[in-house]
Amino acid sequence: MNIKVLYFARLREEFGMAEESIALSEGTVGALLELLRNRGSVWAEQLGVGRNYRVAVNQVLADASAPIKAGDEIAIFPPVTGG
């Protein structure tokens, strides 16, 4: 299935892209993160264990066990600093 993945702020800059379409075989946030980490280099570094970032599925914060289905919009971003 295909999903849309968005990156914001520092992660958008580190990854050098604001969004991409990804073909995912297993439908969880954890599976997506594993796929991204397996790209190595900056991906493995920024999304590695202990790194502080958030994931939202269809604009709602989610953890690694959250399901993903075709057409979902997944966003990965650093802790927020607005206000």
Binding site: N52, Q59, V80, G82
Partner: protein, 157 residues
Amino acid sequence: MKITVQETDFDAATEISELCANNSRIGAIASFIGLVRDNSDGDPVTAMTLEHYPAMSARVLRDIVEQAMQRWQIGDVTVIHRTGKLALCDQIVFVAVAAAHRHDAFLACEFIMDFLKTAAPFWKKEQTAQGERWVEPRATDEDARRSWLDSSDISAR
């Protein structure tokens, strides 16, 4: 409820007038304005850029205001958050809460800001003499958010 994310500036007096227009039940309005400060962690700051997640930011602000409305006796609420390039002293964020009594207005206004700072998807990038840098989240902001959750008597807080 008015929730707006915009690049343009806002006028607090106009917003407050609109909040209480023709509503004689309102006895109190508490408001907060966040501004671009000229220093951060001891370093001079010359300007700031604010990024957000457009599909999510207004939605999270609305959720936060709805939580405040369930928790306190408040009437209407206005939240405005700016994005884009901002200069020193520029207004960043505006929260105003109208209520029958001041206690509810003060508490709801602080609650909304504490959750906005820690949950709404906005990110600040500061310009300093050393170049640009993304602002790091502050532990004190997270402590402030958590203090509302820890309150055993939520109506007393």
